[in-house]
């Protein structure tokens, strides 16, 4: 797969209270065609600054951001025909109905079949029945959905979604995630910034964790889990954890043992060791109730990386 978005050594500093603050510090990554790429990080990490650079609103101090092989700083108008963007914090102009605003955007993108496009984009967010309503009067959730409709109008090859589920109720957020799945199947490349780790885990092919303007880790969720949590963990509920601990202690396959009331966690070097250890403990008289393998959650991965980096 080819890179459709390429970010190379982007740095950007702002002055805050007379002091220079590095919003982006030599950021580099690629997004492949058809990929959903998640950008995760705390507030002020630099996610929105990066989106601004990709949209051409902000000129970086150094480095290059490219989309479709074109420079985001100097070839914005050509790039913008093939991409779109929406933010969970965007606003909507007063005085227009949904239909009028979308018609305006159709003209900005010089699109044919305006009526059909408006209908399809409103259907995608279940807003068809609000076609004649003024989106500025909508609740924040409906407003978010309208802005997503706007972002779908030109059938973009690249879609930048800046915290799109902010302010959405559970049902709308689920619908949006379904929509992202459908867009992904269609081959749309998506850059998603989010605080919602479950959402990132569910939707993203790869993620980048950003902190203090620096990317501290990039990869698939599983790759990052493997790097951060290189052990296979068995969680065993039993009546005699001390006996089981004694049995396993000092074994070559076992890296670490954590004991608690009626429970023992065994950290193994690799997945291959699981079978041998299971065979060993099944013969021991330790009152085993259940054995589970523990999959580290993105939440713990995120916390670990945000504290220490990779």
């Amino acid at each position: 797969m080819n890179s459709i978005v390429s970010v190379r050594n982007i740095s950007k500093s702002f002055s805050s209270g007379g002091q220079p603050v590095k919003a982006l510090d030599s950021i580099s990554f690629n997004i492949k065609k058809g990929e959903v790429f998640g950008l995760l990080g705390p507030n002020g990490a630099g996610k929105t600054t990066l989106i601004s650079v990709l949209c051409g609103f902000l000129i970086p101090d150094s480095g290059k951001a490219k989309m479709f092989g074109m420079d985001c700083t100097n070839e914005g108008c050509t790039i913008h025909k093939r991409m779109n963007f929406t933010t969970g914090f965007g606003g909507i102009s007063e005085f227009f109905s949904c239909e009028e605003l979308l018609k305006f955007y159709c003209m900005l993108y010089n699109l044919d079949n305006t009526e059909q496009r408006i209908s399809l984009s409103l259907q995608a967010t279940n807003l068809e029945k609000f076609r004649k309503h003024r989106p500025a009067d909508f609740s924040s959730g409906l407003g978010r959905r309208f802005l997503i409709s706007k972002a779908l109008l030109n059938d973009p090859e690249v879609l930048l979604l800046d915290e799109p589920t902010v302010g959405l109720d559970v049902e709308s957020a689920t619908n949006l995630r379904d929509l992202i799945h459908r867009l992904k199947k269609k081959g749309t490349t998506i850059l998603l910034t989010t605080h919602n780790l479950k959402e990132a885990e569910e939707l993203c092919d790869r993620i980048a964790l950003i902190r203090g303007g620096k990317i501290i880790a990039t990869g698939t969720v599983n790759e990052l889990k493997d790097k951060c949590f290189p052990y296979e963990v068995l969680d065993i509920r039993c009546s005699k954890p001390a006996k089981l601990g004694h049995l396993l202690n000092g074994r070559a396959q076992v890296v670490k043992i954590e004991k608690s009331e009626g429970r023992i966690k065994i950290f193994l070097k690799s997945e291959k060791d699981v079978a041998a250890i299971l065979k060993l403990i099944s013969n021991a008289d330790s009152g085993i109730i259940s054995v589970n393998t523990v999959e580290p959650e993105l939440k713990s991965l995120y916390s670990k990386l945000m504290r220490s980096g990779l």
């Binding site: 950007k12 702002f14 929105t48 600054t49 989106i51 601004s52 949209c55 051409g56 609103f57 902000l58 000129i59 700083t73 108008c77 050509t78 913008h80 025909k81 991409m83 779109n84 963007f85 929406t86 933010t87 969970g88 914090f89 965007g90 606003g91 909507i92 102009s93 007063e94 005085f95 227009f96 009028e100 018609k103 305006f104 955007y105 003209m107 900005l108 993108y109 010089n110 500025a136 802005l147 706007k150 800046d162 915290e163």
Partner: protein, 258 residues
């Protein structure tokens, strides 16, 4: 070219809906200009002024409005969309800054046409005034609108850098100040000191108003200076807009996402 036209028409479409539905903006082309022209013309008719001077007032105020409408409309859409947090959605579309400004200017041209028709109708119906040299008036009007665009385009660039509330105030105030200082219905040499007159002679608006006044035999037109100053102002506006716009993109003041 098809994209260019579509983008400019998109802005015009948006602005016309906005002007029609926003009470404040609708008054721009109805009550306020009527109030302005009546304030001056009724006063002149009460003091038994020469009817030709009454006609001058009416067409000059129309020209003055032309500067304001085109200048203001060139800038104001960016400011309005900024206040609705919708500017990023527009800037991420394929429209360029020039196309945004031209769409706004075209809105200003339509507003000017509406107000000129209204003024001429008021002049004819209320005071029995007919304009003798309509062609010269139209030429002057064209150059006043071009000057308005030059102002507006610089203000558009300023909106990318400076506090947008201040730019909004300037976009109201500057065209009015420049319009009235350029001698719409008086001779600038009779009012201002020579040093100020020299400065005002570098304004295309001064020469455009001279053209209007020449219809009534008050001044001599200087077409050469009119064209030269207009071109210089336009070129300066393009350079300043480009510089300010890119400076805003560098400083992060053009627009804020989220």
């Amino acid at each position: 070219m098809k994209d260019f036209i579509s983008h400019v028409i998109a802005v015009l479409y948006r602005n016309l809906i906005w002007s029609y539905r926003s009470p404040f903006r609708l008054l721009d082309v109805t009550l306020w200009p009527l109030w302005m022209v009546f304030m001056l013309s009724v006063f002149l008719s009460v003091v038994d002024a020469d009817p030709s001077y009454l006609a001058l007032i009416i067409v000059s105020v129309a020209g003055w409005r032309a500067i304001f409408f085109v200048g203001f409309e060139t800038t104001v859409m960016v400011l309005e969309e900024h206040w609705h947090d919708a500017l990023p959605d527009i800037l991420v579309s394929p429209i360029s800054a020039l196309q945004l400004a031209l769409g706004g200017a075209l809105t200003g041209v339509l507003k000017t046409i509406a107000v000129v028709i209204m003024f001429l109708a008021v002049g004819y119906l209320a005071f029995g005034i007919e304009l003798a040299d309509f062609a010269t008036f139209l030429i002057a009007l064209f150059f006043l609108m071009l000057a308005g665009f030059s102002f507006g385009f610089v203000l558009f660039g300023m909106a990318a850098v400076f506090d947008k509330r201040n730019v909004f105030t300037l976009s109201f105030m500057l065209p009015e100040v420049i319009g009235v200082a350029s001698g719409p219905y008086y001779n600038i040499a009779d009012v201002f000191p020579p040093c100020m007159v020299s400065v005002l002679n570098t304004f295309p608006t001064t020469h455009a108003f001279n053209l209007i006044k020449s219809i009534f035999g008050i001044t001599q037109p200087d077409y050469f200076m009119l064209v030269i100053t207009s071109m210089v102002w336009l070129c300066l506006a393009i350079v300043l807009n480009r510089t300010l716009y890119d400076f805003g993109r560098r400083m992060g003041t053009l627009t804020k996402v989220g």
